[in-house]
Amino acid sequence: MRSQRPFLIEALTAIGLIAAPFVLPYLAFTPTTMSRIVVWGLFGIGFDILFGFTGLLSFGQSAFYGTGGMVAAYLLIRMGFPSVVLAVIIGMIVAAVVGYLIGLIALRRTGIYFAMITVAIAEVFYFVEFNPLAEYTGGENGLPGVPTPKLPLGFTTIHFDTDWKLYAFFGFWYFIGIVIALRIVRSPVGVIFSAIRDNPLRAAAVGHNVHGYKLTAFVIAAAYAGFAGGLLGVLQGFMPPEAFTFDTSGQLVIQTAIGGAGTLFGPLLGATVWLYLSDFFQNTLHLGATWKLVLGVVFVLLVCFLRRGLIGGIKDLYELVVRPAPKDAAAAASPGAAGASGKTSGEIRVAAPTPRRPRAADTISGPILEAIDLTKRYDGLIANSDINFSVRSGEVRGIIGPNGAGKTTFFRMLTCEVPPTSGKITFEGHDITGKSVTDVCQLGLTKSYQVNQLFTRLTVRQNLTISALAERRGKFRLDLFKHIRKIRGLTEQVEHTLDLVNLTGRADVPVSALAYGEKRRLEIGLALASSPSLLLLDEPLAGMSPSERAETVKLLKSIAHGRTMVVIDHDMDSLFEVVERITVLQEGRVLVEGTPEEIKSNTAVQEAYLGGVVAA
């Protein structure tokens, strides 16, 4: 997906599809096998968007494959629909609508639950097809007599009535399918899908409607499945009820895993391997039913040893051969990064605050954040009680307190990660008590986490992009076909944040390759990239070496300029350098509030930290 050659992949796909009939027959591929591969590949594109990109492993795609196929076949055979393509498209739409409804149920839960629910739902579709709807679907006989497509051109009509012509028909639709999918994965929505796969909690915390995007991915997968199901009927001349079986879903999962998930082309490659081997074992080696055993063993070995499928393996091999020393490349990059930090170490940059969307409350004076009588109880344990706290716009506030004083719980309530037991929080005049963390981030209040919450499989730049996107686009928007580079101001915002947290030289490094201090800076950058009007920092210095601390304190000072921030930390000397006022929490209550000098000389604070008994 190089930016300089925008349609390279599309062009290669077209060339591959056109060249295949001239090459593959020499490897004993029949045109029918090739058509089957292409239909499975198309089915798999949607599944890969769901599984490979969004991280949702569904074992129930057969439900949509079967639904789309049955609707199309029914329209063509029983209703005498004239156009095959139109019938298949209607089948796709029905499958997508069904996918939306099923998604509402299945996406109530994630991970293992999601996998189990999709299995169960697909099984129900199988039973519904066989019994209550047998009159319409032909029950166990399926629907025979699906016609082949015709293309009227005015002067003549192309009839796709031979195997090779049908391959051309399916190949064309595969091409359309891949072009659409490539646009989707390059759109902002595609990037957010990857964010959800890597860290759904953080994706929500930076301001994306995670549930909405998951549902989008689910519907996209259902639409692809429905369309492919319709083509299956055309391919076989009859719509088989087997499309609804668990085996169908399983085969799709297997093919995608063999080829490599998260690549869009993995399912096609997986289908090629799977169908070719099954033909080979059955027709050439005459293994009979044993072919499935052999393929099962192959699959298990592949999952065990080739984690990213064949495409992943090929990529690794390519990098091993062509770019023999990725470590050298990293080493070459780091002096640059060191140079960049060296440049800044002399002076403190006064960074301008990121230009941000004007918000309604910008003109309101008075406290930007106010917490009134905030209390949090966990069963018997009182984490926070009756905290009153307010922050002026432009202020930089510190919060300190011994371990267990309730600092993190207090922050979690402010960002609406946990609801308070009682009390009220207002932010820029809005009552935000009980809102979701996503909505609060959209309002302009966000935090950096005590324990890094990054999108670990993505690069530094992609991480910041995800956060900036939420600020640019709002929490949910279906700009599926808009290229991410066309979002106004996005690149500037990302570059600016990169510069601010001093990671410009490391922008295209994956998070997993960063040093700890760099990850901490990125953690702060993720919060900054959404241009918050109030930034909460939960122990930004935790676990850092002295030199990293000095660096980060400098960073905090530079971002404090023109921003409102609240910082929790244990490192009081560092904190006193950054903040104007300090609130001391102890045993869930506000002990005292004042300037750093006042806090330093306060006897109650000294006693709290030295473990002395505070007189009631």
Binding site: F59, V124, V128, I254, V300, V303
Partner: protein, 291 residues
């Protein structure tokens, strides 16, 4: 309209099916709860227990030997699977664990098909439990009555192991927090292996004791696996009491619906699952945060 004799006998069928589902689901759920791995090969392990028992019965003619063989073989397969394959997947994403257990399930099924063919096999009930028993208000197949007792005993045994023994305490602690158990100086890997073995044994035992009721075939586990998922979702993932309750609820739903129209039994089961998901997303006896 409703034939009450039929109704009661269907309720009994529901109890039998429910007990069986409860047992298999318990195996699945304690494995998931402790190891964090959803075993998609669990249905295949149910099937393997049935075949091992059938083979033992064919050689010895003893039902007791068949049950013991089926259970032990289930356990053996479980322990071997954990040691050879699953162990390397604890640090890998959930999706990889699902893929590999799914693949193992296929391999188990196809190995059995390779050796014993696709035709179904029957294990007759033991001599003393053939025929029907008059219960006063109805006649009921003797073996099914006995099966209810057998599975109830197995469930109670599982309960005792989990709740009344030291190892059970470790397993339950592992369900809550396996990292903590590890740092208490208990070899958590040994516990994992044992739990996988016990879970698979529950499936294998269920596979052989069910063989006189439903004949066994290589793909008999697939339907069972799906029903087990529904049970676990209804009861709450990782919860042993949830699996038992969910099992009985599912068993009764399937049986009672079958009385009116067998075609809808599955659909009703799904409706029940959806209702639970909407009203109590973590299952009837599940707790939040176990995903």
């Amino acid at each position: 309209m409703i034939n009450w004799g039929n109704f009661i006998s269907q309720c009994f069928n529901g109890l039998v099916l429910g007990a069986l589902l409860a047992l298999i689901s318990s195996g699945l759920t304690i494995i998931y709860g402790t190891l964090g791995v959803l075993n998609l090969a669990h249905g295949a392990m149910f099937m393997l227990g049935g075949y091992a028992g059938w083979l033992a019965y064919a050689y010895t003619g003893s039902f007791i030997v068949a049950v013991i063989t089926g259970s032990l073989f289930g356990m053996l397969v479980g322990v071997a699977t954990e040691r050879i394959v699953i162990r390397h997947f604890y640090s890998r994403p959930h999706e990889d664990q699902l893929l590999v257990t799914f693949g193992l399930g296929i391999v188990f099924v196809e190995v059995v098909r390779f050796f014993f063919g696709s035709l179904s096999k029957m294990v007759p009930p033991p001599a003393g439990l053939v025929g029907i028993t008059p219960l006063g208000f109805m006649f009921y197949p003797t073996y099914r009555l006995a099966l209810l007792g057998i599975v109830a005993v197995a469930l109670i045994a599982l309960y005792i192991v989990l709740y009344r023994t030291r190892i059970g305490m470790i397993v339950r602690a592992g369900i809550e927090d396996s990292v903590m158990v590890d740092s208490l100086g208990i070899d958590v890997y040994k516990v994992f292996m044992l739990v996988f073995g016990i879970g698979a044994m529950a499936a294998g035992f269920a596979g052989i004791v069910n063989a006189p009721v439903v004949s066994i075939a290589p793909d008999v586990g697939e339907g069972i696996l799906v029903q087990t998922f529904v049970v676990v979702v209804i009861g709450g993932v990782g919860s042993f009491p949830g699996a038992v309750l969910g099992g009985f609820v599912a068993g009764e739903i399937v049986s009672i619906t079958s009385m009116f129209n067998p075609a809808y039994s599955y659909i009703m089961l799904f409706v029940a699952m959806t209702l639970v998901l909407v009203l109590r997303p973590y299952g009837l006896l599940g707790t939040a945060g176990r995903e």
